[in-house]
């Protein structure tokens, strides 16, 4: 009896040991021994890749190194940045101008690097604004936002800024269909089906990167989600995923998830160009801002444009075709050969892969199952290459390694799954911590991926880092994908919420002619001061312009008197340094905006309206030399109507005033 009891206890213990050993391994176990070595970049050594990561709701673009995960720079794009004076200096304010006026914030979701022949070329990075619809272009010689163009007829530019293989166009698709700007928008919301329209925008990119809204295609009202250009054989086509084909205007969570299949819209943009040549586009009156940064004047200009060319997708045949795609497709990714289009139905339990050749054949043979508001719907099977069965739950995005493999993220099952594009067989899977959204392989959406690392950008951080209260860092994870099995090698925290990211070999950007400083001789700023002898202060009514220089380690002038209450003072500070890595800052007490951060050879302007009589210190904010703390001065503010004359000096005490 006693023996039986002991045996029973033993059985229970053994049984529970077996059960607990079946518990999935945690991330500690998932990291293997040589991970640190693979992610280690020794002090003073460079990373292999630049990683341009969207800053999400920070509105900015962050730049990391791979494989170290080190943050190099946060480039201000759509949001003001007092640290760098972005949106605070007079010169940068026009960059954030829109048809709604000055908009100080946006939500940057996706980034796309410029390409030549389908390969990343290291010239520019584009970013989208998901709230007030815009596209920005960042110049990779200066790592500075060079241009921002607003998109009319749009609400939330989400399926953007994806590009064609020679950067002919950067596209945008409206996430929220809305009544067009050229129609009456003051309509009941529940008239969505008749009054709300989708618009996708094709923005032409010039040789120097300059953007121009070439045309828009008007579509039925749906939500456009993501997109990718065809490449190689499918160059000339663009693919946009769309959901809410139910055309719901409320409780989309339920109402936009009714149909078994939504669409991937295939757009033949070469055909659209033909229609434009034939004069089939309609010019519509709209209003949108186009903002450009000028390297020579160190100043942005904002122009409001009033017209856009619109093509009607239902009226003009052969531009748009709908491919049915299961369950509210999100990611819409084209493999390096241009043959396979991967749709990721975010509520689906499989991944459909479409074949470009089959799609062309289906269109040619008119294998349609009907139309969607005048746009032909291709039969699902006619365009389908095949489905990846049981890949995971909630597929979102797919990137490619150039070796015939695809890597898809799964939000719900929190994993990355590697599968073979041709055979559609699942090859490997790794967990992510937690709930991965986008992923990035260097060049992973181009013709030439560098399939060495994969970075997963996670939506939930939870316990990955030391806790910091309710608000936690965002998180990314790097996997080594050079072998058959994916291997986690590093976690690194990121700013904002990282959505899409791009990466390119470091040398491609390092050697693109990086600018180290601006040549003072080429500075054409209207308020430049090219030497201390030219420093001065002028008054015109209540406007006071201070032509100021900074060089290690003093301002000229650094004593200013004769400013009166009611004056608007503009400090135009020119950094006279002509050496790399010697920025100067400028700050004045009580300024109700930011500071200036002025690169060598640059001029920047801070507007200051003193509100009280008294003495106002100014100083350099960026530690510039051993005598940085001495780089300071004073501005005296007298009452309105005071007789204190306007004087300025540096290094000499002016004669003591009589009063």
């Amino acid at each position: 009896m006693k023996n039986k009891f002991v045996k029973a206890i033993f059985a229970i213990v053994l049984g529970s040991a077996l059960v607990t050993s079946c518990k999935p391994k945690n991330s500690g176990d998932a990291v293997s021994g040589d991970a640190a070595q693979k992610a280690y970049v020794a002090p003073g050594k460079y990373d292999e890749f630049y990683n341009f990561v969207s800053g999400g709701f920070s509105g900015q673009l962050s730049v990391y190194g791979l494989p170290s995960g080190r943050l190099f720079r946060v480039i201000p794009v759509f949001s003001v940045d007092p640290e760098k004076g972005w949106g605070y200096s007079e010169e940068t304010k026009p960059m954030l101008n829109t048809s709604n006026g000055f908009v100080p914030w946006d939500d940057l979701h996706h980034v796309e690097m410029s390409q030549t022949n389908g390969e990343v070329d290291g010239r520019w990075v584009f970013g989208n604004a998901n709230n007030t619809p815009r596209i920005a272009r960042v110049d990779l010689k200066t790592f500075k936002t060079a241009e921002i163009i607003e998109l009319p007829n749009s609400g939330g530019n989400h399926s953007s800024p994806f590009i064609t293989e020679n950067t002919e166009y950067v596209v945008a698709g409206t996430r929220f269909s809305v009544p067009a700007d050229y129609s009456n928008g003051d309509v009941p919301i529940n008239t969505y089906k008749e009054n709300f329209k989708g618009h996708i925008s094709f923005v032409k990119v010039g040789k120097e990167g300059e953007m121009d809204l070439a045309f828009q295609i008007v579509t039925p009202g749906v939500n456009f989600d993501l997109s990718h250009a065809g490449k190689g054989k499918s160059h000339g086509w663009f693919f946009f995923s769309c959901y809410n084909t139910e055309q719901a205007n409320t409780l989309l969570e339920v109402n936009a998830s009714q149909r078994d299949k939504d669409f991937i819209m295939a757009v033949n943009w070469k055909k659209a160009e033909e229609y434009i040549k034939a004069g089939k586009g309609k010019k519509q009156a709209v209003k949108y801002a186009h903002n450009k940064w000028d390297e020579k004047t160190h100043t942005a200009t904002s122009e409001i444009k009033n017209e856009v060319l619109v093509l009607d997708s239902a009226e003009l045949k052969d531009i748009c075709y709908m491919i049915p795609c299961p369950k509210s497709p999100h990611g819409c990714d084209v493999d390096p050969t241009g043959e396979y289009i991967v749709g990721s139905g975010k509520l689906a339990a499989l991944i459909p892969v479409f074949s470009f050749d089959k799609l062309m054949r289906a269109i040619k043979n008119k294998q349609f199952e009907g139309d969607y508001s005048g746009i032909p719907v291709v039969k699902y099977e006619a365009a389908l290459h095949g489905e990846v069965q049981k890949p995971g739950l909630g597929p979102l995005h797919t990137e490619f390694d150039g070796k015939g493999n695809a890597y898809t993220t799964f939000f719900v099952s929190s994993e990355v799954v590697k599968w073979d594009i041709k055979s559609l067989k699942v090859l490997d899977r790794v967990p992510t911590y937690y709930s991965v959204g986008h992923l990035c392989i260097p060049g992973g959406d181009s013709k030439k991926p560098f399939g060495k690392y994969l970075i997963a950008y996670n939506k939930i951080t939870k316990d990955r880092y030391l806790p910091t209260g309710p608000e936690l860092a965002q998180s990314a994870q790097i996997f080594d994908i050079s072998g058959d099995k994916m291997q986690l090698i590093l976690d690194f925290p990121t700013i904002g919420e990282p959505h899409y990211a791009q990466a390119a070999p470091a040398d491609l950007i390092r050697n693109n002619g990086q600018l180290k400083f601006y040549k003072i001789a080429e500075n054409n700023h209207p308020f430049v001061t090219k030497g201390e002898k030219e420093a001065k202060v002028t008054r015109k009514g209540n406007r006071v312009d201070v032509y100021m220089t900074s060089i290690r380690s003093h301002f000229a002038p650094d004593n200013i008197e004769g400013v009166k209450l009611g004056d608007e003072v503009y400090f135009h500070v020119t950094n006279l340094e002509q050496d790399w890595d010697v920025p100067h800052g400028f700050a004045v007490k009580g300024a109700d905006n930011g500071e200036l951060l002025i690169m060598p050879g640059e001029t920047a302007t801070l507007k200051w309206v003193p509100k009280k009589i008294g003495m106002y210190p100014i100083y350099c904010t960026d530690f510039c030399s051993a005598l940085h703390q001495e780089m300071q001065g004073y501005v005296r503010v007298s009452p309105a109507g005071s007789s204190v004359p306007l004087t300025w000096s540096v290094g000499t005490n002016l004669p003591k005033a009589t009063k």
Partner: protein
């Protein structure tokens, strides 16, 4: 004493010497390299026959901390005459081919050596002048510290390590001197008649 004619080989060497003198005018003669923790890429002053080149503006900017006078090409009369002197050396070398007398070559070698010594003294004088004539109101004053760069070789000057060495032109001049010396040795030692 009879004037001995120089050999054909010596004439060829003289031609090379002339070319070396002439081409040295196109490249920097001397360089002072500066290294500091803040300047991993290094800074350099390049002294050409007719100007100061390299990172002059940056070095002038840095030198204001210790109160050193700023360097400007127009403040050195040497840059106006040096190109003519060296150009003259090139012409003399050519003329020597036609004169073709070993005594003439010897005289030119002695003249050249004298020039080099005077140039070194002049260079030292300027180094001393700039290194010691410091603004008494300078921000950084280290008692007893002078910032005279070495005539040749290495010296630590506060956070900067200074290397003063010939640049391409300097090496050309050195080689020209060696060639002339070789001609003299050859003509006097091995051509005894």
């Amino acid at each position: 004493m009879k004037n001995v004619k120089i050999s054909g080989l010596s004439k060829v060497l003289l031609l090379i010497t002339a070319v070396l003198f002439a081409s040295s005018l196109l490249v920097p003669m001397w360089q002072i390299q500066l290294e500091a923790p803040q300047y991993p890429e290094g800074l350099v002053l390049r002294l050409h026959a007719n100007k100061i080149g390299g990172d002059v503006e940056i070095i002038n900017g840095l030198n204001h901390y210790i109160g050193m006078a700023t360097l400007h090409t127009e403040n050195f009369f040497e840059f106006t005459i040096l190109p003519y002197i060296i150009g003259g050396f090139a012409i003399i070398s050519i003329l020597l081919i036609f004169i073709a007398k070993r005594k003439a070559v010897l005289s030119f070698l002695l003249l050249y050596v004298t020039f080099v010594i005077l140039a070194a003294i002049d260079f030292y004088r300027w180094n001393y002048e700039y290194g010691h004539n410091l603004d008494p109101n300078a921000a950084i004053r280290v008692p007893g510290m002078a910032y005279q760069p070495p005539l040749i070789g290495y010296k630590q000057l506060l956070n900067f390590g200074a290397y003063s060495i010939p640049d391409i032109g300097g090496w050309m001049l050195t080689f020209a001197g060696i060639l002339m010396f070789s001609i003299v040795i050859k003509e006097y030692k091995f051509n005894k008649k």
